[in-house]
């Protein structure tokens, strides 16, 4: 799980072009949206693509994303439980 979390942080930084944020800056429980990393609605859509592309998980209802993308913790447990690749 730790490896997955590390990998997720690296991917999020790369995919969302978070230029001035390092892996060490993101805590597992930090809010990804709102006050935390400050991600927005396009980032959320991009995370849905990331789940599909890298883990073979298709989210059809964007509302589901709200719970899954709360933090690195919630995202990694969802991926671990549902990944197909």
């Amino acid at each position: 799980m730790e490896a997955l979390k590390q990998e997720l942080k690296e991917k999020i930084i790369a995919v969302l072009n978070l230029e001035d944020i390092a892996v060490a800056d993101i805590n597992d429980t930090d809010a990804l949206f709102g006050d935390g990393l400050g991600l927005d609605s396009i980032d959320a859509l991009e995370l849905i693509v990331l789940l599909d592309k890298d883990y073979g998980i298709k989210l059809t209802d964007p509302k589901e994303g709200k719970h899954i993308f709360q933090s690195i913790d919630t995202m990694s447990s969802y991926i671990a439980a549902n990944r197909t690749k």
């Binding site: 230029e19 396009i42 991009e46």
Partner: protein
């Protein structure tokens, strides 16, 4: 047109160089636009992380507008219209997006790329950054159309749709780019005419 308007400041970005009002304010080695734009961002201490989410066209337009709007009186800002044009629209990003859907086995269209497949998105980026709730429009011409740009900026000011107009020719395709941005208002030294714009554009 009865009333005269004036070019108050102008800026050119091309060949890894930024020239503001005729003076070179930043220059870097030829290492590609991504690197050049990042170095310019750092040099001018812009401090706006959203910059790195933008596509090349928006980065180009954003950098130029940053230099021209920084010096402006903040009270004027909300009345500064944006009038931009180029030749290749958003084709630089369109090609990138098309590549993401051309292989059916590896088909992952990116919303963050798709949103930039519209040329006017760069106007949105500038408007957000400077909180310009103002007139804006994006046009496409085969080449810099000085006559149109002079006329339309004059119209915006004369009809009181705006107090100032930030005008820009922001062309980006592949590694070829050129930005020529300038600020037009009621006062200034250089009259906003087709002839003057052509001289400044070709400088």
């Amino acid at each position: 047109m009865e009333k005269k308007t004036y070019i108050q400041a102008f800026c050119t970005i091309e060949n890894n160089k930024i020239v503001l009002n005729g003076e070179t304010v930043f220059e870097s080695e030829n290492t590609g636009f991504a690197d050049f734009s990042k170095k310019a961002y750092q040099h001018f201490e812009i401090g706006y992380p959203k910059f790195f989410k933008m596509d090349n066209l928006s980065k180009l337009a954003f950098l130029g507008s940053e230099l021209l709007l920084k010096a402006q009186n903040p009270n004027d800002e909300n009345n500064t219209a944006l009038l931009f044009a180029n030749k290749s629209s958003s084709l630089d990003t369109d090609v990138k997006y098309q590549n993401s859907i051309s292989d059916k086995e590896n088909y992952f269209p990116s919303p963050a790329v798709f949103v930039y497949t519209l040329a006017n998105i760069c106007l949105g980026e500038i408007s957000i950054r400077h909180q310009l709730k103002s007139e804006n429009s994006f046009f496409i011409f085969d080449a810099f159309n000085a006559a149109f740009m002079a006329d339309y900026a004059n119209i915006l000011i004369e009809t009181q749709k705006a107090k100032n107009v930030l005008c820009g020719w922001t062309e980006f395709f592949g590694e070829d780019y050129k930005a020529f941005l300038y600020l037009v208002g009621n006062e200034g030294a250089i009259e906003n005419t087709k002839q003057n714009l052509e001289i400044l554009y070709n400088k």
